[in-house]
């Protein structure tokens, strides 16, 4: 986001944030791009490191191990109940960094804008990012903007990279689930995916289902304070709870048994899934995590999660066991047993 204060050019008029739109010149490296950065990105995302005005941000690494994660955000629609692509791009990467127990420090942001995107929408997105950054205490310290021709993007794509630091003694990893461990989830599942789908498909539900998009690093910190020996953490985003449990089972070389009635699902989410022929276990979340810890610590961890605003509906949903096939199985509310599988392809509505 270049251009230091001293060298900042003067512009003929201000950006038209009401009626203006992104055009190719906003990505050309010239004065128009500089103006977009100054009057839109810098205005909202301002912080000391960004204000260094160089092509990189310089900082001294703190003690501990550094965690880095990157995530591209391509969501349609850009604005949805409960959030937008801006705050999602902040929350998503903070969560990926935090899932190893790291304290997130900084973010970078790369924007790919489609020619014709209203500047008002872009301003709304960047303001939402800035709000999310302030709430999380994690600033965007460097960034990049590119513009692609109309029809070659979907309004706005945002890639964020996050850097964090993990304290010594914390060892959280997807390969650490052990037979006997307890499996916990931090709250209701499926809210984000159903919120997006209800907007995308123009399904007029009476109750508005809101995305659960949220940054979970503070919840993670509270969990680690209560139980330093957490074995695994992961946020069940695309593919939902089902795919994430399968990932962890594969990575750790174990099986899992979960109990359907123990899994928190909002009634309206369950109803929407029923209508669309979807399984809430396969639906995306953006503000939930799965935790695996020794069974002896499960109650303490659950209490710590429930004491936090982002973990109020936390629950123990199952346990890890030895299984050479690495199956995730679920005892259904009905009394039978079934496999909980990876999501295959996309979730599709059924037809009959």
């Amino acid at each position: 986001m270049g251009a230091s204060d001293a060298s900042r050019p003067r512009y003929a008029g201000r950006l038209d944030l009401q009626h203006g739109a992104v055009d190719m010149s906003h990505g050309s490296g010239g004065r128009a791009m500089a103006q977009l950065i100054d009057e839109l990105f810098r205005r909202h995302l301002d912080n000391d490191l960004l204000a260094q005005g160089n092509d990189q941000a310089l900082f001294r690494p703190p003690a501990g191990r550094i965690a880095v994660s990157t995530d591209g955000h391509v969501i349609s629609p850009l604005f949805f109940p409960g959030g937008d692509i801006g705050c999602l791009a902040v929350h998503g990467t903070i969560n990926d960094v935090a899932m190893c127990g790291a304290r997130p420090l900084y973010l970078t942001a790369g924007f790919i804008l489609e020619e014709g995107l209203p500047l008002a929408d872009l301003a709304r997105i960047v303001a939402s990012m800035a709000r999310a950054c302030n709430e999380c205490g994690v600033p965007v310290v460097t960034g990049d903007t590119k513009v692609v021709e109309r029809g070659k993007g979907d309004g706005c794509f945002i890639t964020t990279t996050g850097v964090g630091v993990v304290a010594d003694g914390i060892d959280i990893s997807g390969d650490r689930a052990r037979p006997g461990d307890a499996i916990l989830v931090s709250g209701t599942i499926g809210d984000h995916g159903v919120a997006i789908m209800s907007k995308r498909e123009n399904l007029g539900f009476e109750t508005e289902i809101r995305s659960d998009t949220a940054a979970l690093h503070d919840l993670v910190a509270a969990m680690i304070a209560a139980v330093p020996d957490i074995h695994c953490l992961r946020d069940p985003t695309r593919g939902g709870l089902a795919s994430t449990l399968n990932e962890l089972a594969q990575q750790s070389g174990v099986g899992m048994q979960i109990t359907e009635p123990a899994i928190p699902v909002r009634a309206e989410v369950a109803a929407a899934c029923e209508l669309l022929g979807l399984d809430p276990l396969n639906v995306a979340n953006e503000g939930k995590l799965i935790a695996i810890c020794p069974a002896a610590h499960a109650e303490r961890l659950l209490a710590a999660m429930r004491a936090h605003p982002k973990g109020q509906n936390a629950a123990v949903i199952g346990e890890v066991f030895e299984d050479p096939h690495h199956f995730v199985q679920m005892e259904t509310a009905f009394g039978g047993n079934r496999i909980v599988d990876w999501l295959a392809g996309e979730q599709l509505p059924r037809i009959c």
Partner: protein, 383 residues
């Protein structure tokens, strides 16, 4: 969730399981064909088989509309989109069904064809209305359940004079399929003691069209809903008929099905569609009077007439046992491709694609069970 949880109640399920176990005669077998993919799905998803006595076995039927659609029809749809450049509107289940030469609608879409996934026939109409320069074809498939909504859009399109809209009709009829299954049942085919009759289909056609089953073939039928308790209660009703030596059409799904069905919907279908002389079914072969075409009065909206495609030679994948699975002759795990090269990510046959397909249901929910040959489940299932 109201009106849903009641039909998935674990305590009631245990009660029904107890009744079935108590009444089933240990000296005999109960081989019950669940006609619809919706039943198959419920049986696997809720673990209904776990609650049944060992001598009661569900045999999967052909009632999965995506599964019985022959590959040639998918090839034809792809040709309409690719060669004629139409906007093809389809239900999501069809997108990944294998076509000839390892093609599929999803791959055709990735290759640039304009193929849209819709939730309702009305969506296709809306796409046509929004752009008069675009030829929009609705890829209509399904049994009698999905036929009336197709009839409605054809009527609306004609009333509006929507010249850029047409329907590629692949609607098929349930009773002829059932008849074929029963006619070929026996020592060489599938062995059956009773039928769990279609659920949603019967809301349209009623229970009367199945009366030939006990009359001609001497097998009991119970029209069964799609919820797991519906399936269990229907199984109990079949066990009772079999034990008592009775043989009749009973209706478990009384909250939605009557003997005469939805007369208004039937009238609509009769007006807009006409029976085809015969139609090819995957697994069952060419069956007389088993499908619908668009009636002459609506011929202008028939995509097969508007966008003729030279009939190709569809090539099924070698070794794929979908046809036998659809007739109930084979279990999914009897197929050599199952779980080895054929998985939901890389389906070789339609039964592995559709959420209503027996192979997909078995793979997704039940592959931890030992197979009936006693093989270790991992041989047929680990990732």
């Amino acid at each position: 969730m109201k009106y849903i949880d009641e039909f998935r109640d674990g305590a009631l399920a245990r009660g029904l399981a107890g009744a079935i176990a108590a009444e089933a005669d240990p000296a005999r077998e109960y081989r019950l064909m669940e006609f619809c993919g919706g039943h198959t799905h419920a049986i696997y998803r809720y673990g209904v088989q776990d609650l049944m006595p060992a001598n009661l076995r569900f045999v999967h039927g052909p009632g999965c509309p995506v599964c019985v659609l022959p590959m040639a029809r998918i090839d034809q749809a792809i040709a309409m989109a690719v060669e004629h450049g139409v906007t093809l509107c389809t239900y999501g289940d069809l997108m990944r069904v294998p076509a000839s030469e390892r093609r599929s609608l999803l791959k055709a879409k990735a290759g640039g064809a304009d193929i849209r996934m819709i939730y309702s026939t009305q969506d296709a109409l809306a796409i046509a209305r929004a752009d008069a320069d675009r030829q929009v074809v609705l890829f209509a498939i399904g049994f009698e359940t999905t036929t009336p909504p197709t009839a409605v859009v054809l009527k609306v399109a004609r009333a509006e004079g929507l010249g850029n809209f047409s329907v590629f009709c692949n609607h098929v009829l349930t009773p002829p399929a059932l008849k074929t299954i029963l006619a070929t049942a026996g020592p060489d085919g599938v062995q059956l003691d009773g039928i769990l009759g279609p659920s949603h289909v019967s809301t349209i056609i009623g229970s009367r069209p199945y009366e030939f089953v006990p009359a001609q073939f001497g097998k009991p039928v119970v029209i069964a809903g799609f919820e797991p308790l519906d399936v269990m209660q229907s199984a109990l009703m079949l066990v009772r008929q079999i034990n008592q030596g009775r043989c009749t059409v009973e209706n478990q799904y009384t909250r939605a099905v009557t003997r005469d069905g939805n007369v208004k919907a039937q009238g609509l279908m009769a007006e807009v569609f006409a029976p085809r002389d015969s139609f090819e079914w995957r697994g069952l072969g060419r069956l007389p009077h088993s499908a619908l075409r668009i009636a002459d009065a609506y011929a202008d909206f028939d995509a097969e007439r508007r966008f003729p495609v030279a009939p190709g030679q569809a090539k099924e994948i070698r070794g794929c046992e979908c046809p036998s699975v659809l007739r109930g002759v084979m279990e999914p795990t009897d197929c050599k491709l199952f779980g080895t090269v054929c998985t939901p990510e890389n389906p070789m046959g339609a039964c592995m694609v559709s959420s209503e397909g027996a192979c997909a249901a078995y793979w997704s929910y039940g592959r931890f069970r030992p197979t009936k040959q006693g093989a270790d489940p991992v041989l047929r299932g680990a990732a």
